[in-house]
Amino acid sequence: MNNPAALRITNIYKAFADKQVLTGITFDIRSGEIVAFLGPSGCGKSTLLSIIAGIEKQDDGNIYWMGAPIDHVPPHRRGFGLMFQDNVLFPHLNVFENVAFGLKMSAMEKEKILVKVSDTLELVGLKGLENRDVNSLSGGEQQRVALARALAPQPGLLMLDEPLGSIDRSLRERLMSELRRILRQMQQTAIYVTHDQEEAFAISYRIVLMRQGKVEQIGKPEEIYRRPATLFTARFLGLTNLIPGNARAENNQHFVDTSLGSFPISKPLQGPVTVLIRPESAILNGHTGVLLQGKLVEKTFRGNLCQVRISINGTLLEFNFLSNSDLPNEGEEIQLSLNPQDPIIAYKSGPDQLTNRGN
């Protein structure tokens, strides 16, 4: 992945009426890369997408495509494809005409259009449905047509705005892996907007995590999951073992004192902090590193995993174990240690914390 930046976003600002929607957004997307915009609804990710597509205009900042500024290029000249959440197919055109729309706009020859549409429909698994009325298709089929329509003109950048948002759960899994296969196979440079971390993890090479119009963290999926840069990110990813503590320095080493005991941390922090303990970091009956002892309150079987809730000195923690682990019964004592390979992350507690309650 050493390609140069295909899309460069620098310092984008956007406000609607008096509300600031985007604040100083900056990042690059490399050629062939799939980047997910992840964040809760209202974080500005769809607005950012509209600005990149040219449908909305930013108040400040610049967008470069292959090194050239495209701020004043109208949407139809940008050569970007856009796929919407609820497909937005042209209701007056059939499947073929929908997919061929972009090709006709680029004044392609008729025979070539025929071939291209047929190839694209085959790619999305809809060969033979050329003459169907789009209104008569199922939700999944409509979404495939929408994908085919966006892919057919071979856009330099494909933008997908919550493409699986309105698809029901059982179908979503399948479409997700197909989408992943198609995008990766075609080495399509793509932006994938979603509020669902699983989709973002599965599909993208890199994630831009957004919050209230700002970039919270940029990184590979595993990076973001392993090392959430902020408390917000940790909570957004559903990490709930967050314990208040007090950080101090001792002999050039940093520690946090909590109700569970003292932990070494890598960051040089002082004062009140919040500590994140990863749910998969516990080793049953371990003897090295930080030792924890408590009561097993609840044990939930989840197939390959077993989720347990443990009460230690009145603090509830959640851990995942492989379900073949030899776990005690509910109500019994349990002893475990924290994997030293999984560093404990501490976040500075502050006014910031108040704004993202809820977890």
């Binding site: 449908i55 970007f80 706009m105 966006a150």
Partner: protein, 580 residues
């Protein structure tokens, strides 16, 4: 509707068929006696003349130079009016559909006003603005010192065209604007990202989608202009005659009933064809497109381009749709001419004399009915019309929407719209030739007037009820039924609340149509029971400042009443959460 399986008569169970049959009974009896029988009489009257074949009377009529002229004028003025109305209305429809701005709902409400304003009032309003004693001429005389009125717009084609635009722009704004506002703007964005520029997007995506709405609106406008009566008669003067006006002249002035009947049939044939096409088109509009809530489709006026566009459109609409009405209201309170017995105007300016004059029988004539009495008569007619129109309109709409696949309904649906394609004057003519002898000797009965009004209002009543009834999803009914609601219960708890709004809209339509109806009333009303529009017409056609002022005053009253009804509807609609 293509996917809708056509259900044959046999497959429907017997009970449903009986229900639908019973629902149809009252509307069909009413239409039979008061619509088809008179129409049949017109048919008979026109054919009685021709000895040499059925078509002979038509050929004879067509060969008359005067008839050919009338026909030609009717067509080209309607076509030109429709084009101009579209030119004014479509930018407005776009503005209302795609933008959200302060004062928009007020402007929308105001733009609806002209449609419910009776023709006589429209004519009076244009007199107040552009007539000999109208504001423009008064202003020109005062400012430039002309001795006589410099603008002669009344009794010209321009006055007719302006009045038609004034009248029908609302149709375009409403039909096209409403439809447009629910079309997902992301369809345009999709087209744009696929490489279509603004123009291509409009022609490849927007136009095909809103095309049926535009065609339907244009057709409706054309039908209204084609059968225009009051505007032509009062604003156009004796020089201009549409078919409708010619039928009136032939009936009232020349008493040439056979020729009137032939012309009526000719007009009916034309409008019928157009109405059938219109019905087809409007059915296509109810096809379930993926409609979006307006919340997602409208944006604010942020760019200078959109602001400039909005400014031009709003000013144009205001000048064309609102100024005539303002001119009318202001003119009814303004005095410029000397009063009776005075040489000069003592105090040009504000006066309520025209209103005071309305209740005085100055002529002490036995046959003179004071305008205040006419107001009472009009209100009584309107009340009867509302009752009759709902009594026959509700069962008809109900039957139409409950089993739309039923072959009886498929046959009756276009039949119901016949009165819409039948002009008011034709209805009046039918009453004159049919209901003057037993078994229906109603010539002397004042009930004829509200019956005629009911026929005029009937299509509007049915058309404002059916969308609401159709919107009741079978699933809702089934849900209610599984919760233990009996069919009667379902009607009361599910259907009625949903349809309540539409019922009020329908009733108000019937009321305002009755108050303003002119064509049929002009033919059949008894001289001792004149309605408000007839009195206005009399005042306008008589000379004198007092008559002119009284016409203005009475028109203003009618305008206020009708507008009040409209505002009531709009308020009710806003209070409702049912909008998509």
């Amino acid at each position: 509707m293509n996917q809708l399986i056509r259900i044959s008569w046999k497959e429907i169970n017997f009970r449903q068929a009986i229900t639908v049959g019973l629902l149809w009974l009252l509307p069909l009896v009413f239409l039979g006696i008061f619509y088809f029988f008179p129409l049949g009489s017109i048919l008979k009257t026109s054919f009685e003349r021709g000895d040499s074949g059925i078509a002979a009377p038509f050929f004879e009529a067509i060969q008359l130079e005067s008839v050919r002229q009338v026909l030609w004028f009717t067509i080209w003025q309607a076509a030109l009016s429709t084009l101009l109305t579209l030119a004014i209305g479509l930018p407005g429809a776009y503005l209302f559909a795609r933008y959200e701005f302060r004062g928009k709902s007020l402007l929308q409400a105001l733009s609806t006003v002209p449609f419910v304003i009776p023709t006589v009032v429209v004519a009076a309003a244009f007199y107040a603005l552009l007539g000999q004693r109208g504001w423009l001429n008064l202003a020109a005389m005062r400012i430039f010192g002309f001795n006589a009125a410099p603008i002669h717009l009344t009794n010209t084609i321009y006055a007719i065209l302006l009045a038609h635009i004034f009248y029908n722009t609302t149709i375009v704004l409403r039909m096209v604007g409403d439809f447009w506002s629910h079309i997902d703007p992301r369809l345009n964005q999709a087209a744009r990202t696929l490489g279509a520029n603004r123009t291509k997007t409009f022609f490849k995506v927007t136009l095909p989608l809103i095309g049926p709405a535009i065609t339907a609106a244009a057709l409706l406008v054309f039908i209204f202009d084609f059968t225009s009566f009051g505007v032509i008669l009062i604003l156009g003067g004796p020089k201009f005659a549409t078919l409708e006006v010619e039928i009136f002249y032939q009936t009232i002035s020349l008493f040439n009933l056979p020729l009137a009947a032939v012309l009526a049939l000719l007009q009916l044939g034309c409008t019928l064809a157009m109405t059938i096409i219109y019905t087809r088109l409007s059915r296509r509009l109810t096809r379930p497109l993926q409609l979006r809530s307006r919340r997602y489709t409208q944006k604010r006026l942020t760019t200078w381009r959109s602001r400039l566009f909005a400014g031009v459109v709003i000013i144009t609409l205001f000048v064309i749709l609102i100024t005539p009405l303002l001119a009318l209201a202001m003119r009814s309170f303004a005095r410029f001419e000397p009063e009776r017995g005075q040489r000069v105007v003592e105090s040009p300016g504000f006066t309520v004399d025209f209103y005071r004059e309305l209740s005085i029988n100055r002529r002490s004539s036995l046959f003179y009915v004071p305008p205040t009495t006419a107001i009472g008569i009009s209100l009584a007619y309107a009340a009867v019309t509302v009752i009759l129109a709902l009594a026959i309109g509700v069962p008809a709409a109900w039957a139409l929407t409950r089993h739309s696949g039923l072959s009886l309904n498929r046959f009756l649906d276009p039949l119901l719209m016949l009165p819409l394609g039948t002009s008011a004057v034709t209805l009046g003519l039918g009453f004159i030739v049919a209901l003057n002898r037993p078994p229906f000797d109603l010539r002397a009965s004042p009930i004829l007037v509200p019956i005629a009004h009911t026929l005029v209002a009937f299509p509007f009543v049915v058309r404002s009820l059916t969308p609401a009834l159709r919107s009741i999803q079978p699933r809702l009914r089934q849900a209610a039924a599984t919760l233990g609601a009996s069919p009667r219960h379902v009607i009361r708890t599910v259907d009625l609340p949903l349809v309540g709004r539409a019922l009020i809209v329908a009733a108000t339509f019937a009321f305002t149509i009755s108050l303003g109806e002119f064509g049929a009333t002009a033919l059949i009303s008894r001289p001792e029971y004149p309605t408000i529009p007839l009195v206005i017409y009399r005042f306008i056609s008589q000379p004198g400042a007092i008559n002119y002022g009284q016409a203005m005053a009475l028109s203003t009253i009618l305008m206020v009443v009708v507008t009040g009804g409209l505002i009531a509807i709009e308020r009710l609609r806003i209070a409702d959460v049912g909008e998509f």
